[in-house]
């Protein structure tokens, strides 16, 4: 029989680490139906090896741990704190458990933060689904000198509790064993009486009233009753209660609210936390004179009133210096040389094998040259993501959001918008996806609209090429102008959008500040692997196709004969048709227009298109000369750079925007506005610049 397990838990509870441990490399990422919440599914691995088995990147791990348990699929639920009906993540989670009825739910709990984590556990226990609690971070609890009586905790909660350490794999065998047993024997959580007195009576009266209706809908009466008491309109509608019942429930609750002196939602939250207070008093022994937590000590420096912003700025500069400075360039150059060698090797091989000249030309000049130009860029992306994911996993990014909330709110956004925007410097696609962490659609859409202004990493080769050709002495200055210019545009756009499209205030900023933790190699490696894979997939699909199409369009005429000159080719005709649009901007040549078009497929293609169209090799001195032909003046080059900085993002980013904004119209409108803005700004640069430079 095929089993399905669900993994539930708070954010920052180590859920991702546990999921990766339990499933290894066998993961599938998709979306929950109808909403933009990521759904990860994986096949559960057997756990016989305990500690030593899972270190290193997923590729290396696969052979060592080939033994898979094909019978169990593990579904990773979003990180949530409660099962309220207010956020997509919570609704998705509770619907999955109540409607899909997984065979067991594994609830990961941060043992250093039991009270708030168990709040979710109490709600999960109401669902009449086998539940196993994985008590994570036991190593930290021990280090703090605290002690948790696992057996009495299990007894108090009415569910099996397994102490684990997801970081090093301790306790996972037992966790899997207990979960399998709970699923096979269908062991339901024990019925807990978390409320007392008036609340207890009121809850039981409601449960009694709706028991049959709830059963008919496949819901646990206790869960349905609790939700009704809390004022959950989704459950109220689902149960299709008659007027009379609703009226009685209303009266019960009105009386209870008067007795308790609180309103309904507060009564239940209070009851759960009061119950947990008792559980924790019984099961946890806190160390005497606990020293100040390491996080608090680190924060005294990193979040210091005067130092916080300078340190933050320094961190960001450091990230950029490492990625784009001498170190990053050294790695990127080495990689590029390697690729060039590979291509020439293949070229020689093809010649030796007497390949037809046109096939060789297509493969070497079209496919390999294009893909090679993109691949050269891989080290930069990987390095940037490495640094950003270290900052994220360490807990610093949450602090960055805390720091930036007030300034971001001035723009009409919230602190959390800052993280996607920073990621936008790497790649717009994951940045747009990162906006999912915001729960309000307004904030999400607003952030996504501004993200493309953060100059993405794929534009770096364009900037690098142009600074070498036109501004060899002022490289740093040009880079700064471009990056800051993009940010300035984002600020200006934000203030316009705030007054027009996005009225009102940003969503509340209620967020856990997680403890600082050392990022694990496995987690960072996993993220890097996913990013690199994603990038390579794009390189070998969209970008490869685009390169071949561009090569085809520029090699053949519309009559499908070989084009003698570029003007005759299909691409030349199309480019020539569009070129006049860019004439006022100073770069009205067919080549420039064509490069702009291919840049929509992928920004990296701008460079390869310019190379292919000028019949030169990327980065060669011939290409530099050719560029001076395409862009008659430094000002025209500056205008082109401005346009490339601001115009619509690539198709992959557009696809992500459409998905995450939940609307094609708004995504289309925003990229059109960006392109119009790019045109106008480049026009200003060229025309006003022309007054000063001759």
């Amino acid at each position: 029989m095929q089993y399905v397990f669900a993994l539930a838990g708070n954010q920052n509870s180590g859920k991702t680490t546990l999921f990766n441990r339990l499933t290894g490399s066998n993961q599938h990422v998709g979306n929950w139906p109808g909403v933009t919440v990521e759904q990860k599914t994986g096949t559960l691995l057997h756990h016989h090896h305990g500690k030593s088995a899972h270190v290193g990147p997923p590729m290396l791990r696969r052979n060592r741990e080939a033994e898979e348990n094909n019978d169990v699929q593990l579904v990773d639920l979003p990180g949530i704190y409660s099962l309220s009906p207010y956020t997509m993540e919570e609704v998705v989670s509770r619907d999955f458990i109540t409607l899909q009825k997984p065979n067991a739910v594994i609830n990961i709990v941060d043992a250093t933060n039991l009270e708030r984590n168990l709040y979710l556990t109490l709600q999960l226990a109401e669902l009449e689904t086998p539940l196993v609690v994985a008590l994570n971070m036991m190593d930290e609890v021990n280090k703090q000198g605290d002690a948790i009586d696992v057996n009495s905790l299990s007894e108090a909660l009415g569910v099996p509790v397994v102490p684990i350490c997801a970081r090093n794999g301790d306790g996972l065998d037992e966790l899997v064993r207990q979960s399998m047993m709970a699923a096979e024997k269908h062991i339901l959580p024990g019925k807990l009486d978390i409320c007392s007195g008036d609340t207890h009576e009121a809850l039981h009266a409601i449960i009694h009233l709706i028991e049959d209706k709830a059963r008919a809908k496949g819901l646990s009466p206790r869960y349905a009753g609790t939700k009704l008491l809390e004022g959950d309109e989704k459950i109220e509608r689902l149960l299709e209660l008659d007027e009379g019942t609703l009226h009685i429930i209303g009266e019960i609750i009105a009386r209870l609210e008067k007795q308790a002196g609180m309103e309904r939602a507060a009564i239940m939250a209070d009851a759960r936390y009061t119950f947990l207070d008792g559980v924790i008093k019984k099961c946890v022994v806190k160390a005497q004179n606990a020293p100040e937590s390491p996080s608090a000590r680190i924060d005294r420096v990193l979040m210091h009133r005067a130092l916080a912003f300078p340190i933050f700025l320094l961190m960001m500069l450091l990230v950029f210096f490492i990625t784009f400075g001498p170190f990053g360039t050294w790695i990127a150059d080495g990689f590029a040389a390697l690729i060039k060698q590979g291509i020439s090797l293949i070229d020689r091989g093809l010649t030796a094998a007497n390949t037809a000249p046109w096939v060789q030309a297509l493969l070497v000049d079209g496919v390999l040259a294009g893909v090679g130009a993109v691949l050269e860029f891989l080290p930069t992306i990987v390095l940037l993501f490495l640094l950003l994911s270290i900052l994220e996993d360490s807990g610093y990014m949450a602090r960055a959001a805390f720091l930036m909330d007030k300034p971001m709110r001035k723009l009409g956004l919230n602190g959390r918008s800052f993280i996607p925007m920073i990621m936008g410097f790497g790649c717009t696609v994951p940045a747009v996806m990162g906006a999912r962490s915001m729960q309000s659609q307004r904030d999400r859409r607003f952030t996504i609209m501004l993200t493309p202004f953060m100059s993405c990493g794929a534009k770096v080769p364009i900037y690098a090429l142009f600074t070498r050709a036109f501004f060899p002495e002022q490289g740093v200055l040009v880079m700064c102008c471009l990056y800051l210019g993009g940010m300035l545009m984002a600020v200006i756009s934000a203030s316009v959008l705030k007054k027009t499209v996005f009225h009102g205030d940003a969503a509340p900023f209620i967020m856990e500040l997680p403890a600082y933790r050392l990022p694990t190699l496995a987690n960072v490696g996993r993220q890097l692997w996913d990013k690199a894979k994603d990038f390579l997939q794009r390189a070998f699909t969209i970008i490869l196709a685009a390169t071949v199409v561009v090569w085809f369009l520029q090699t053949y005429t519309f009559r499908l004969t070989l084009a003698d000159t570029m003007e005759e080719s299909m691409l030349g005709v199309i480019g020539g048709f569009i070129a006049p649009v860019f004439r006022p901007l100073g770069f009205g040549s067919v080549s420039a227009a064509t490069a702009v078009i291919t840049g929509v497929i992928a920004k990296e293609s701008v460079v390869s298109t310019l190379a292919v169209l000028s019949g030169t090799e990327v980065g060669s001195s011939q290409m530099m000369a050719a560029l001076h032909g395409i862009f008659p003046s430094n000002l025209a080059a500056a205008s082109f750079l401005t346009f490339v900085l601001l115009y619509m993002p690539c198709v992959a980013a557009f696809a992500a925007m459409r998905r995450e904004m939940q609307g094609r119209g708004i995504a289309l409108a925003s990229v059109c506005c960006q392109t119009a803005l790019a045109w106008l700004t480049a026009l200003l640069v060229y025309q006003i610049g022309g007054l000063f430079v001759f």
């Binding site: 409660s82 507060a266 912003f309 909330d405 509340p508």
Partner: protein, 76 residues
């Protein structure tokens, strides 16, 4: 006027009496553990004075002052 969580200075503590706000915000504040009778302490403020860090139930939570003003504290 009643004292609210937003009135506390860093290092000061209090006990929650009542949680205001509506709908999702109200519910979210409660879910995060800011229920009546909970002891809270203000950790630090962001360098620009807002948002604030609230220490409760052994963890830290960020809250904007505007939202913290919805949380009424008991008279000491």
């Amino acid at each position: 006027m009643a004292k609210t969580l937003a009135d506390l200075m860093p290092g000061e503590g209090g006990t929650v009496a009542y949680v205001g706000g509506e709908g999702a915000l109200h519910r979210h504040i409660l879910d995060m553990g800011l229920t009546p009778r909970t002891r809270v302490k203000v950790g630090k403020l962001a360098p620009m004075g807002d948002p604030m860090e609230i220490l409760l139930r052994g963890y830290s939570l960020t809250l904007r002052k505007a939202d913290a003003a919805e949380i009424i504290l008991e008279e000491e």
